[in-house]
Amino acid sequence: MMLGDALGLTDSQERRIVRGLQLVLISLLGYGGATFQFGITGTAGFALGITLLPAWLRREYGYSMDAGLVLWITTAVILHTMGSLWLYKEYQWYDEIAHIVSASVIAGLGYAAFRAFELHSDELNVSSTFRSVFIVIFVLAIGVFWEVLEFALGGVVVTVYGIDDIVTDFVFNAVGAVIVAIWGTGSVSELVGFFRRRLRSKPEN
């Protein structure tokens, strides 16, 4: 059911790997600062911020995210950090892997939010086929929204590498989404529960 089971990792091993990856990001942050390469500092800092979100959720809402899910998110973040700093320019396939992984994270989050909303409210009542379709549509739409964002930022924070790069990103985002739609929805079942509790605790509902 959970992601780590597939890889044969225990929760504590997964947590250790996450700590290790965060250390890599911290060293990058330090390296960027020491050598006045603030592009590296910014990218690594942003990435580190995302990897700290699960810890923030635990502190703020008392929700411990499944260790496998935390590892999944951290992996996606580190892949993109390494990519945007060095590897995208070197290897085309690297970009594709990074996009499959990060699209699967977006797909998982989108699905969890959608499913929680469906269970919580009577506004939605859909079939499992529709949920799968929703995952793919959600990821594709976020891809377009991301391009709008990159365009708005004017290539300051993130670099756009051209039309073929945009198209390959879309294609591999879709691959990641399809993987989650077919196999991955069980991995976020705990997250669904958390979102549901959040929705329920809102006074207007």
Partner: protein
């Protein structure tokens, strides 16, 4: 079923709907014959999407409401004049998204409140734009067309399709509210009723 009343099981709606579909078919044939394969393919996707409910239910009157189809037909008619200008494509993509959502809601076992249906239609619009971009790219590669000329132009496409999706979503929200019986409006405000 907040949107159900947009797809009325009426003969009149179906007659007008199929006439409009016929125009789209003619547009598709014209596009294919004049060598605009990608746009022709897109028009055929519209035709297929519109025909699916009738094919599945076996009832020729299963048809989305004709005003929605009229917008799609309009984009086809305008484009017959020549190469589909970008604005036409945005409108066509957004309309197709709405048709898909309305059909899912009406003919499949999908129950969405109007609020969520509008959001979903916007997401679908953007997703279709992504697919359209991929299709254009490979058309450029394999069929020698020149759809995607520059990165900036493509990025503007994304911005505009997002805006068009928002505007059409707002229009649709207004349209669905305007032509809904009073009871359904009150119900939609509190979320659709459970089955």
């Amino acid at each position: 079923m907040a949107l159900e009343n947009l797809v009325r099981d009426e003969r009149m709606n179906a007659v007008i709907g199929w006439l409009l579909t016929g125009i789209v078919v003619l547009g598709a044939i014209e596009s294919v014959l004049t060598g605009v394969l990608l746009w022709g393919g897109f028009e055929l996707v519209i035709v297929a999407t519109v025909s699916v409910p009738a094919l599945i239910t076996g009832d020729w009157t299963s048809m989305v409401s004709w005003p929605l189809l009229a917008v799609a037909t309009l984009t086809v008619v305008v484009s017959v004049a020549g190469f589909p200008s970008e604005t036409v494509v945005y409108l066509a993509v957004a309309t197709l998204a709405l048709i898909v959502v309305v059909e899912l809601e009406t003919f499949a076992s999908v129950d969405l409140s109007r609020r969520f249906a509008v959001v979903f239609a916007m997401l679908t619009t953007m997703a279709l734009q992504a697919l359209w971009t991929v299709a254009q790219f490979y058309s450029d590669q394999w069929l020698g067309t020149k759809y995607l000329r520059s990165q900036t132009e493509l990025q503007w496409d994304f911005v505009i399709v997002t805006v068009v999706g928002l505007v059409l979503g707002a229009l649709f929200q207004w349209y669905a509210g305007r032509f809904e019986p009073a009871g359904t409006v009150a119900r939609a405000a509190n979320g659709a009723d459970s089955p």
